[in-house]
């Protein structure tokens, strides 16, 4: 076997290693989804979606949980999107490349790796106690916003960076101000990437249980929240609660709850992919 043959062999070996590595994730996900669907799909019906919690597994529903998750999604979006995008624009377009901005950058990247329960403790002290928001939807949304801000900032910066410098220079060359350039050129051309980052971050917020349990989200809420100051529960808490019950019927309920949560997340991701597709098709350069 000469050197060329060896290299050929390495090439083939690596190729199959790559195939194997990519398949692992897909296979595990397929097994997981198949088992969840076979456990829970038959449980999902109108009654399940519109009923309140109950001690009887077959009477219990997730109305308060999914509406709570929806509230959390929209409130968190309202808080985190403007803050995240504004911070990213500042860091990418305005801030000078000095030591302060480097420290900021390193911090934001590191914050993305802080365990979510830590954000819960922070939220409990700041929003629940100091701001006196109590265990309300608003306190939950602020806490989850903190959690996902780093993700949004990083994703937005990447999207802005991908805008060709020539576009910006052309805009400046036409006499546009920095803000005009950002508003009319940079943001529209990076909107697809920003939207993807934002929706992925929000999907994560919707799936979190630990930080919202810490700030005092409840397990049993017999009413649908009417205002951001209402107390709430979310799907992950309801699922967690059901999984720990002895009655096998609740395990089925938990599986059904997981399907709903997955469906919500997939739907959001679907919207993100669609938005990106739309925006990129409209780019005219």
């Amino acid at each position: 076997m000469n050197n060329a043959d060896k290299n050929q062999l390495k090439d083939v070996v690596f190729k199959y290693l790559g195939v194997f590595a990519s398949l692992i994730g897909i296979i595990l996900l397929t097994i997981f989804i198949a088992s969840i669907i076979s456990d829970g799909l038959k449980r999902i019906d109108w009654q399940f979606l519109t009923s309140l919690p109950s001690r009887k597994a077959d009477r219990a529903g997730i109305l308060t949980a999914w509406t709570g998750s929806l509230w959390i999604f929209f409130l968190t979006a309202l808080i985190s999107i403007p803050l995240g995008i504004a911070a990213a624009i500042y860091l990418e377009e305005y801030s000078k490349k000095n030591r302060l901005s480097r420290i900021l950058e390193i911090n934001i990247t590191n914050l993305a790796g802080v365990p979510s329960v830590i954000y819960g403790i922070l939220g409990l002290e700041i929003f629940v106690r100091t701001w006196k928001l109590g265990g309300s939807l608003l306190a939950g949304a602020f806490t989850l916003s903190l959690l996902i801000l780093p993700i949004i900032i990083v994703a937005t910066r990447e999207a802005i960076k991908a805008v060709p410098a020539t576009i910006k220079e052309a805009s400046f060359g036409m006499g546009a101000t920095k803000w005009q350039t950002i508003w009319h050129q940079v943001l529209p051309s990076s909107a697809g990437g920003i939207a993807t980052g934002v929706i992925l971050a929000l999907s994560r917020a919707v799936g979190e249980a630990a930080p919202v349990i810490v700030i005092g989200a409840l397990a049993y809420v017999p009413f649908v929240a009417q205002s951001p100051m209402d107390e709430f529960t979310v799907l992950p808490i309801q699922i967690f609660n059901w999984v720990s019950r002895p009655d096998a019927g609740f395990i089925t309920n938990a599986a059904a709850g997981i399907i709903i949560l997955l469906a919500v997340t997939f739907l959001l991701n679907g919207i993100a992919v669609y938005l990106r597709y739309r925006w990129q098709r409209h780019l005219k350069w």
Partner: protein, 324 residues
């Protein structure tokens, strides 16, 4: 382009509004003018009982909002002592430090027992050498000094076969763990560390069901749901061997592995008729409902006694408030 976004946002908002409407469908027409919010927090062990009561209470008083959290017994007491909750679920009596915190904030309260919970010691059904264990033997198995020492069934009792001992139990964060170690080893939290812990009791059930040499403990309700996969052991606490059953847990003879579950009600309740009504409803209906969630009811005269205590407590509080 931006029209599209508007449409998306609008349709999302519409779905949202429809979702909010759902909350108004709850009134069942039952006539009751009680209203208000009752905030409850505390033990996740007691949670299913309180949830069952709250569920049935909706039919009686549809306008009263009962919310229940699961911060754990200690976490619940913390909120209770700050006056953030009016009822606290507890799987153990209040500690002195917690009582002091209540006193500091001027909160008086009453402790009411609402159900019994039994702990089951279980082995694999293929295990034919053991039917019961004494408390002393359980201590030999679980105490901290047993770590890496007691690893074989034949070390527990002469005559047990030479088989490896596999131990499973709840994780150290669980109230069940605290309770078991307190009752068996004599000190809450004192246990050997080389057992397989899981916060999910279903994992413990699977673990014992799948291993002939396994021994584990968890709430009796999990045994009842999985009777065909497990073998229940009797426990000898010095008065002979007792199997945990509804009767033996209820009359206290399954000792020391049965415990009462409590709710604590703050004196704030006396000012709020909906809370008084809820607690009365709790004690009147617990006998019927606790069985549904896998726990064991107190004898009915015991509920009557608790109810009398509670009414006395309310009357006293009202008098005290009036004299101020």
């Amino acid at each position: 382009m931006f029209k599209k976004i508007q449409i998306i946002i609008l349709s999302a908002a519409t779905i949202f509004l429809i979702a909010c409407q759902g909350g108004n469908q709850q009134s069942d027409g039952s006539v009751n003018d009680l209203s208000g919010t009752i905030n409850i927090d505390g033990s996740s062990t007691v949670y299913p009982v309180t949830e069952a009561i709250a569920e049935e209470f909706r039919a009686v008083a549809p306008e009263v909002r009962v919310t229940i959290g699961v911060s754990g017994t200690g976490g619940g007491f913390k909120k209770f002592s700050r006056g953030e909750t009016v009822i606290s679920d507890a799987s153990r009596p209040m500690k002195e430090s917690e009582a002091a915190a209540c006193k500091e904030n001027g909160i008086t309260y009453i402790e009411l027992a609402v159900a019994y919970d039994g702990l089951a010691v279980i082995v694999n059904p293929k295990n034919d050498w053991v039917n019961e264990l004494t408390v002393a033997e359980l201590k030999t198995i679980w105490q901290p000094s047993a770590q890496n020492v007691i690893t074989n069934w034949n070390q527990i009792r002469a005559g047990f076969p030479d088989k490896e001992l596999k131990l499973l139990g709840p994780g150290t964060a669980s109230g069940t763990f605290d309770y078991f170690t307190e009752a068996i080893v004599g000190e809450s939290g004192a246990s050997r560390g080389d057992y397989m812990p899981s916060e999910d009791d279903h994992v413990l059930v699977q673990g014992v069901a799948g291993d002939e040499n396994a021994l584990g403990f968890f709430g009796l309700a999990y045994y009842h749901e999985n009777q065909d996969k497990l073998k229940l052991l009797g426990v000898d606490g010095g008065q002979g061997v007792v199997l945990p059953t509804t009767t033996t847990v209820k009359d206290g003879s399954y000792s020391p592995l049965s415990r009462p579950l409590f709710i604590y009600v703050s004196s704030e309740a006396a000012k709020r008729p909906e809370v008084v009504k809820f607690v009365e409803f709790y004690l009147e209906n617990a006998a019927e409902l606790v069985g549904d969630v896998g726990y064991i009811a107190l004898p009915s005269e015991e509920y009557a006694k608790q109810l009398a205590h509670f009414n006395e407590f309310v009357a006293k509080t009202v008098v005290a408030a009036g004299s101020n």
